[in-house]
C-alpha cells in the first residue's frame, strides 16, 4: 500500500500531520490527520487559583490568546457568580473586536485570501501576500501592517500587553481607559471600518466578478453538509463575546440554543487512539464517524457556520453584506467551505463596526470596571466565539477558588472532524492512481483546510503568508517516489 505523508510543521497543542493511504489501485483508501502533541493544561491548571486562568490559558495559543483570556475571564466570573459592571464587559468586548479585526485581516490577506485573489492555479511564487500586493496595489501591504498595528495597540491599551493580555480578572478588569485613549481607539476603529469595506470590495471585484472562482466556491469538492454552530445575542445575531450558542441543522433549521452552563448536554468528544486531539460532536445526534448529513453529530464552528447559525449581523453595514452573501450563494445555509473566506470578511466588517460602537459608548471610560466578587466560588463555564470556533472553558473550584477540575474545548478542535473530512474528500478528488493530478491540485487539498483557518494550519499570520506543506508519495516499502512541495 502506498502512503502519502503531509507533514506541515504547525501548531495547535503542537503540530499537525496528515497521512494519506492509497489502496492497491493507487486511489485514496483513507486519511489520518494527526495532532502529535498534548501539553496538558487540563491537568496542570488544577491546583492553581482560578484568577490565574486568564493568564495561564493564554499560553495555549499565542495566535489567539485574547480568546482564551476572555473565555477564562468569563468562566472565572461564573465561578464567582459575579456579573462584571457594563464598562468591564464593554472594554473586554472592545479589546476582542479589535483582535478579531486583526486576526481576520491577516488570514484574508496572508493566508487564505491569496488562493482567491491570485487563483488556485496561479504560479506558487505568486500565491502569497506579495502576489496580492502586486494585483491589488502596493498600498495594500501597508494597510495590512497598519491594521495589525492598530489591533495590537488596542489590545495593549486595554489588555496591558500585546501578546498574552493580563488585565481580565474575576469580576471585570484591573484597569479602565482614559478619554484620550478612547479617542485614539475610536479613530483607529473608523479606519478599520473603511478597511473592512475596502476588503469586501476587493473580494467582490476579484472573486465574485470571476465566474471560475464562483464555480469553484460552489463546487462539490468543498462541500460538507454538517451542522453549524455559533454564538448569538438575544436577537440571534452574531456575537463574539457573549450570548448563547446556536446550533442549526444541515437544512438550516435551528436545533436550539444553549447557555454556557448547558454545554455538556450538547457537546461530547470522541476519542481515536492515533491522535492526541479529541473530536467534538453534537451529543444529541451522536458520533457516527467521519461523515456529514443530518444523522451525523459532526458540526462546524467557523465564520461560515456562525453566519448560518445566526439570523443576521448586529451592525448595519455587516447586515447588508450578510444579506448579499446568502442571496448570491443561493440561500441559507451555505455548506461550501470556501465561502468561509467571504463570511470572514463580513465578520471583519462587523467587528470593526462593533469596535467603533463600543469606543463611542458613553460608559466605556467609566472608572467602574470591576465588581468585587462576594459569593463563594464553585463552578462556571465561559464561552466566547474564537475566530476559529466556539471556545469553551469550564472550571470547578474548591471554596478558596482553587481549581479542582478543568475542561477546555478549544476553537479549532471543534472543526477537527470536519477538517479531517475535508482533507479526505479533497485528497480523493485530486489523487488518482497514486498520482497527484497537478501542483495546483496540491494547493486545493490545502485550501480545503485553509478555509477553516485552523490554528495548527499555520494561522500564525506569517509575513509572507506561506504555508509549509509537503506531500511525499511513498511506495509500499515506504520509499519516496515523488515529493511535491507547496509554497502557497
Amino acid at each position: 500500500m502506498q502512503r502519502i505523508t503531509i507533514d506541515p510543521i504547525t501548531r495547535l497543542e503542537g503540530h499537525g500531520k496528515i497521512e494519506i493511504f492509497l489502496n492497491e489501485e493507487g486511489d485514496v483508501a483513507n486519511t489520518y490527520f494527526q495532532i502529535p502533541e498534548l501539553r496538558g493544561f487540563e491537568r496542570f491548571c488544577v491546583g492553581r487559583p482560578v484568577e490565574e486562568m486568564p493568564l495561564l490559558t493564554n499560553r495555549i495559543c499565542g495566535v489567539c490568546p485574547e480568546a482564551h483570556h476572555m473565555a477564562a475571564a468569563k468562566a472565572a466570573d461564573a465561578v464567582y457568580h459575579v456579573d462584571p459592571p457594563p464598562t468591564a464587559k464593554k472594554l473586554r468586548e472592545l479589546l476582542y473586536s479589535a483582535f478579531y479585526v486583526t486576526d481576520h485581516t491577516t488570514h484574508f490577506y496572508a493566508l487564505g485570501g491569496p488562493d482567491f485573489v491570485m487563483g488556485p492555479d496561479a504560479p506558487v511564487a505568486e500565491r502569497n501576500i506579495l502576489g496580492v500586493i502586486h494585483k491589488v496595489g502596493l498600498e495594500i501591504g501597508g494597510k495590512v501592517i497598519q491594521c495589525r498595528k492598530y489591533g495590537h495597540t488596542v489590545v495593549e491599551m486595554i489588555g496591558g500587553r500585546k501578546v498574552h493580555p493580563c488585565t481580565s480578572i474575576p469580576g471585570g478588569l484591573t484597569k479602565g481607559i482614559t478619554e484620550e485613549q478612547r479617542l485614539e481607539i475610536e479613530k483607529m476603529g473608523r479606519w478599520a471600518i473603511e478597511f473592512a469595506q475596502f476588503s469586501l470590495k476587493v473580494f467582490g471585484d476579484i472573486v465574485l466578478g470571476n465566474k471560475a472562482y464562483v464555480d469553484l466556491i460552489l463546487g462539490d469538492i468543498y462541500t460538507h453538509r454538517t451542522y453549524s454552530m455559533g454564538l448569538v445575542d438575544a436577537d440571534n445575531r452574531v456575537n463574539f463575546y457573549d450570548g448563547k450558542v446556536s446550533v442549526v441543522d444541515p437544512e438550516g433549521k435551528r436545533m436550539g440554543t444553549y447557555a454556557p452552563n448547558e454545554y455538556t448536554d450538547w457537546i461530547a468528544e470522541h476519542v481515536e487512539p492515533w491522535t492526541y486531539l479529541k473530536f467534538p460532536y453534537l451529543k444529541k445526534i451522536g458520533w457516527k464517524g467521519f461523515v456529514d448529513g443530518k444523522d451525523s453529530g459532526v458540526y462546524m464552528a467557523t465564520p461560515l457556520s456562525r453566519l448560518n447559525a445566526s439570523d443576521g449581523m448586529a451592525t448595519p453595514l455587516a447586515q447588508a453584506e450578510y444579506e448579499k452573501f446568502y442571496s448570491t450563494l443561493g440561500g441559507k445555509p451555505v455548506h461550501q467551505r470556501l465561502a468561509t473566506h467571504w463570511a470572514r470578511l463580513i465578520e471583519l466588517l462587523y467587528a470593526a463596526e462593533r469596535w467603533v460602537e463600543l469606543a463611542t459608548d458613553p460608559e466605556i471610560t467609566s472608572p467602574n470596571f470591576h465588581t468585587v466578587p462576594t459569593e463563594k466560588p464553585t463552578e462556571g463555564v465561559g464561552i466566547v466565539e474564537a475566530p476559529r470556533g466556539t471556545l469553551t472553558h469550564h472550571y470547578t473550584t474548591d471554596e478558596r477558588g482553587v481549581l479542582t477540575k478543568v475542561n477546555l474545548i478549544v476553537g479549532t478542535t471543534n472543526n477537527y472532524a470536519p477538517i479531517s473530512m475535508s482533507i479526505k474528500k479533497a485528497a480523493e478528488s485530486f489523487i488518482r492512481k497514486g498520482v497527484v493530478v497537478s501542483e495546483g491540485a496540491l494547493n486545493r487539498v490545502e485550501m480545503a483546510f485553509r478555509a477553516y483557518d485552523p490554528c495548527f494550519g499555520c494561522a500564525t499570520h506569517s509575513l509572507p503568508g506561506q504555508m509549509p506543506l509537503q506531500i511525499t508519495i511513498r511506495d509500499a516499502e515506504g520509499k519516496e517516489v515523488e515529493v511535491l512541495r507547496q509554497y502557497c
Binding site: P36, E37, G47, G160, H461
Partner: protein, 327 residues
C-alpha cells in the same frame, strides 16, 4: 546561493506567541530579510527537517529556538539545529525555563494524558487508549512520545544565548537583531556565550512606577477581592507580585496595567532559583514573628509552588515535582 548569513527560527512545544512577537517587530522584519538568508522557519516558509539535515554543520549563523522539549521529536530537532547553528538562542520563556507548559512537571505524564481523555465531555466507556504506534487498517501510523517531564532547551543542547520573556517584547527582539547585524558587520561585539540578552540587568520592580514604602503586610490578598490603589506597590498592598525576583526587560507592563507581575521574564540576574528568591522576598514583607500568625498569612497564597514556579519549574533547581520524576 547568496553569501548572506543564514537565519532559522523553530518552535518546539510552543504556543506560537514567540513567532507573533517576532512578526510584531513590523518593519524591522525587513532588516532580517535584508541581512539574512532565511533558511528554516516553519511558520514563514517551507523547508523541511531533511533540508536542514542536509546543510553543513555550523552553516546557520543564527537560530532562534522557541518552545520547550516535550517529546522525542522536539529533542531531535534541538540536536539537529544545535549541530547546524553557530549561534543557538533559547528564545522565549518556554525554551529558557519551561514557561507555563512546564507546570506539567508537577504531575506524572500518564496522569496528564488520562486527565485530557477523561474530561466531562469525553466519551465514556470506549476507553480508547492512545497509541504512539497505531496499527491502522492501512498501515502503522505513529505519534511522537511525550517525555515524563518538559525540559528546557539547555537541558538537551548547548545554548549560546538566552532571551527570556513570554513572549520577549518586540522592541527587545528588534534590539537583539540590530546587535547581531552590527556584530556581523564588525561594528559591535557579541556578548560572551551564555549571556542573557534582550533584557535589563535588574528586576521588574526597577521599572515599576508604583511607590514602595517598605511597608509590611498582615495579609496576602487575591486581586479580585480588593480595590487596589493604582499608585502603590502591589506587593505592599498584599498582592503576590513577582516583580522582585523577575528579570527586568518588559518595562513593568503588568503592574502598569494594574495586574501583578507573574514572572514571565524569568529569574533576575544572579538568581539561581527563581522560586527561592521569591520565597525570600515574600517572607520579608510579612509582618509577623509568630508561627501561627505567619501560617495564617501564608494561607493567603493558596498555591505557593505555582506562584513561585509558574514560568520556571523545568529550569529550577528541582525541575519537577516528585511524582512527575518517579513512577
Amino acid at each position: 546561493m547568496s553569501a548572506k548569513p543564514k537565519f532559522a527560527m523553530y518552535w518546539a512545544a510552543s504556543c506560537g506567541g514567540c513567532e507573533i512577537a517576532v512578526l510584531n517587530i513590523h518593519e524591522k522584519i525587513l532588516d532580517v530579510d535584508a541581512n539574512f538568508d532565511v533558511v528554516f522557519w516553519p511558520v514563514a516558509m517551507d523547508a523541511k527537517y531533511k533540508d536542514v539535515a542536509a546543510m553543513p554543520d555550523d552553516s546557520i549563523t543564527l537560530t532562534l529556538f522557541n518552545g520547550g522539549i516535550r517529546n522525542d521529536e522536539n529533542e531531535e530537532i534541538a540536536h539537529l539545529l544545535r549541530r547546524k547553528s553557530k549561534i543557538l538562542v533559547a528564545f522565549g520563556s518556554c525554551a529558557c525555563e519551561g514557561c507555563i507548559p512546564g507546570l506539567a512537571n508537577f504531575s506524572p505524564v500518564d496522569e496528564i494524558i488520562d486527565t485530557a481523555f477523561h474530561t466531562v465531555t469525553t466519551d465514556k466507556g470506549s476507553e480508547v487508549r492512545l497509541q504512539t504506534r497505531y496499527p491502522a487498517r492501512e498501515g502503522e501510523i505513529r505519534l511522537p512520545t511525550l517525555y515524563p517531564t518538559l525540559r528546557t532547551l539547555d537541558q538537551v543542547a548547548k545554548v549560546d544565548y538566552y532571551m527570556p520573556g513570554c513572549p520577549p517584547e518586540s522592541h527587545q527582539i528588534a534590539a537583539v537583531i540590530d546587535l547581531v547585524i552590527a556584530a556581523l558587520n564588525g561594528k559591535a561585539t557579541l556578548p560572551p556565550a551564555g549571556s542573557v540578552i534582550g533584557v535589563g540587568g535588574s528586576t521588574v520592580c526597577d521599572d515599576c512606577p508604583r511607590a514602595r514604602n517598605v511597608k509590611t503586610i498582615k495579609a496576602f490578598k487575591r486581586i479580585q477581592d480588593v480595590r487596589l490603589d493604582p499608585t502603590l506597590c502591589l506587593l505592599e498592598q498584599g498582592i503576590p507580585c513577582n516583580g522582585p525576583a523577575t528579570r527586568q526587560g518588559c518595562g513593568a507592563l503588568c503592574p502598569k496595567a494594574g495586574a501583578q507581575c507573574i514572572g514571565c521574564y524569568g529569574p533576575a540576574e544572579g538568581v539561581l532559583d527563581y522560586g527561592a528568591r521569591l520565597i525570600s522576598s515574600f517572607a520579608s514583607v510579612i509582618d509577623s514573628n509568630t508561627p501561627d500568625e505567619i501560617e495564617r498569612i501564608l494561607d493567603g497564597i493558596p498555591d505557593p509552588a505555582g506562584q513561585f514556579y509558574r514560568f520556571s519549574l523545568p529550569g529550577s533547581l528541582l525541575r519537577a515535582g516528585k511524582s512527575a520524576r518517579a513512577k
